[in-house]
Symmetry: C2
Subunit: 382 residues, 2 copies
């Protein structure tokens, strides 16, 4: 089997169980991917990531480009060698971060000029071609096209313009991407407008087909960007299923930046395969835990003398070894270990949730899995 | 062999290699003990502590008494169960913390009244008897007497008064301490005055002898407090050796709060068996590493492209897995993992240094070990 060849192992309604190869191992979907923005999943060692059955870890091109610099990552032997993580990795292009710089950023048809205000304010210019060069040097197994991500709410004409720019850049990224041990994913944009979303998909598929017919490799998967950017919660689901069903069956679909447990369960049912989010580690550092009973704020005084496990339904190392009373103590004292242990638990929660979703798809019972989840107290967590 | 019975395995000059039993395992000296003030060694899991061959972990009576409260620790089944650490533990009495509260604290002959200004400002009163009760309920394997610790510089009459108060409290702690699975260590005070130090030792030995002759258990070891409280660096060594040699050969000597590598190597030569300090984790969180070449500030730009191990002479998991360039990146980005990894390395550095010191004593070559250390670049670290 070649790198990035996809096997559709089962489907159940629109939900799918895929597997595909990378140079650093096979990945199986549906899956949740921990985020390691600065070449570290905050507070978690690579050994702990492996113990969590983490499959793909994300890093961020913009942040690595700024610090420690692409040359340092490249000289280290690539992102995996640099951070001592030997599993599959993905780099986001940094488009989202650039277009969050607001007035410090100016996009034109050819590329984007920006001032890195969250670092030293220095001026930089990126084009789709230079972004591909950077991501190839960083060397993750999967890279994402440079796209333009626009917020919500937004005038439709502005969404249309950024969507058009994104697919033009998708073509240029496709042409510029040469590293054959690295997959390239295109990104569907279009905001909350179904017509723009479907137009985006159609254009990306044209680019993919043109590339392949002329001996190129096209896209090995599709990101679905521009959701979870501030819209009311159910607005995404008005269009998400139609977007995923317009995408090819034989390539992974990655809903970018989504990490609420219930949203994952619902999006898998709409045909999404991959997710990432900082939510499990960020909420963990803030003292909050996912659980089978819904989200738990570990500051709550009711846990002070509660010597039971964090989540009775969970078999992660934290739930097997520590009590609610101890975790509350760590959180109240702002001890690092509190954030670490809750991050481990929260990552396990989403990774194992997707593992159970996969089992349900393989067993042909995803609808039952979905209904049981939505009827449970955990469904309140989104 | 009974609990806390000491075997003197070897001595080499004044340096000694002891072993003694606790209910949670045998400990072997010389040793460095990681500090877990709030029932956690900052950023380090119990599994990581075991992997580091950590022998005894310290917790702090004052801080646990304030948060989460003695009742919570007791209901959890004691400090080990509470924090999920199954090895030997020691609690400091909290005397040092109380007497650091300055004007928020008032000591009299019977005890000390204090306002916990670093928590909620609430008022409390401790006596030697109530402190023993608290430490017995916390349940570490070794507890320390309540003492009065005075700063430097200080009028000799004030040092004399606090030293006298400390030995009077030692007797009351000895009488009040009943938990037979828990050792009680007395604490030698006397500041930088040899006569006061030797008087302190003499009085403590009298109390110990009186206790034993009347069927009591006396003291199972001796803390040496009131050093490293601001005096110039060599002042401690003017008296330390004479203090240790005045103490019984068959009981451990614990130099409290000392953690510089070179100071450990020197103090072992003066007959000290046990050390503790927050230095390895605190400096680790601040981006600094111990090394065979002396202390390293990982912010230094010279490490930016240095893909070699942190310390070539070290075999800890951090030196085996990560590069200086990566560690620098984590420290520069203020990433939690930087502090965690440097804490692991620094703890390993002191724990393994004491392991090597022990081997040298057992082999009868401590003087050579000492001279080699003092001639090495590492000796600059004190």
């Amino acid at each position: 089997m070649s790198l990035f060849d996809v096997t559709v192992e089962a489907s159940c309604g629109a939900a799918r169980a895929l597997s595909f190869e990378t140079a650093h191992g096979t990945v199986r979907t549906p899956m949740f991917m921990p985020v390691g923005t600065h070449a570290t999943v905050k507070g978690i060692t690579p050994d702990q990531l492996h113990a969590l059955n983490s499959q793909i870890v994300l890093a961020n091109t913009y942040h690595l480009y700024m610090r420690p610099g692409v040359d340092v990552v490249e000289e280290a032997g690539g992102i995996q060698r640099f951070m001592n993580y030997d599993g599959p990795m993905l780099t986001d292009s940094g488009g989202f971060q650039l277009f969050s710089l607001d007035h410090m950023m100016k996009a034109d048809a050819d590329g984007v000029t920006f001032h890195a205000r969250d670092y030293d304010g220095s001026a930089h210019r990126w084009t789709p071609e230079s972004n591909m060069d950077i991501q190839q040097r960083i060397g993750a197994d999967i890279c994402m096209q440079l796209d333009q991500c626009i917020g919500y709410p937004c005038e439709k004409e502005d969404v249309a313009a950024s969507t058009a720019l994104s697919w033009e850049w998708a073509k240029r990224c496709c042409d510029a991407h040469t590293r054959i041990d690295q997959a390239l994913f295109a990104i569907v944009q279009g905001g909350m407008h179904l017509d723009l979303r479907l137009e985006s998909v159609r254009r990306l598929l044209e680019i993919d087909a043109e590339s392949r017919s002329s001996g190129g490799r096209g896209f090995q998967g599709f990101g679905i960007g521009g959701y979870s950017v501030g819209e009311p919660h159910d607005v995404m689901f008005e269009t998400l299923g139609q977007v995923t069903r317009a995408l090819p069956d034989d390539r992974p679909r990655y809903l970018m930046g989504v990490g609420n447990p219930t949203t994952l369960v619902r999006a898998v049912r709409e045909g999404v395969d991959m997710f990432d989010c900082v939510l499990p580690t960020r909420t963990g550092r803030m003292g909050t835990a996912f659980s089978s009973q819904g989200r738990m704020n570990m500051r709550n005084a009711k846990y002070k003398r509660d010597f039971t496990p964090l989540d009775h339904a969970c078999d992660c190392p934290v739930c097997r070894q520590y009590t609610r009373a101890y975790l509350r103590h760590l959180v109240m004292q702002k001890e690092m270990l509190g954030g670490i242990l809750l991050s481990v638990h929260n990552l396990h929660f989403l990774i194992s949730l997707m593992g159970r979703a996969r089992e349900a798809i393989l067993g042909g019972t995803y609808e039952e899995f979905y209904r049981a989840w939505m009827a449970s107290p955990a469904a309140n967590d989104y």
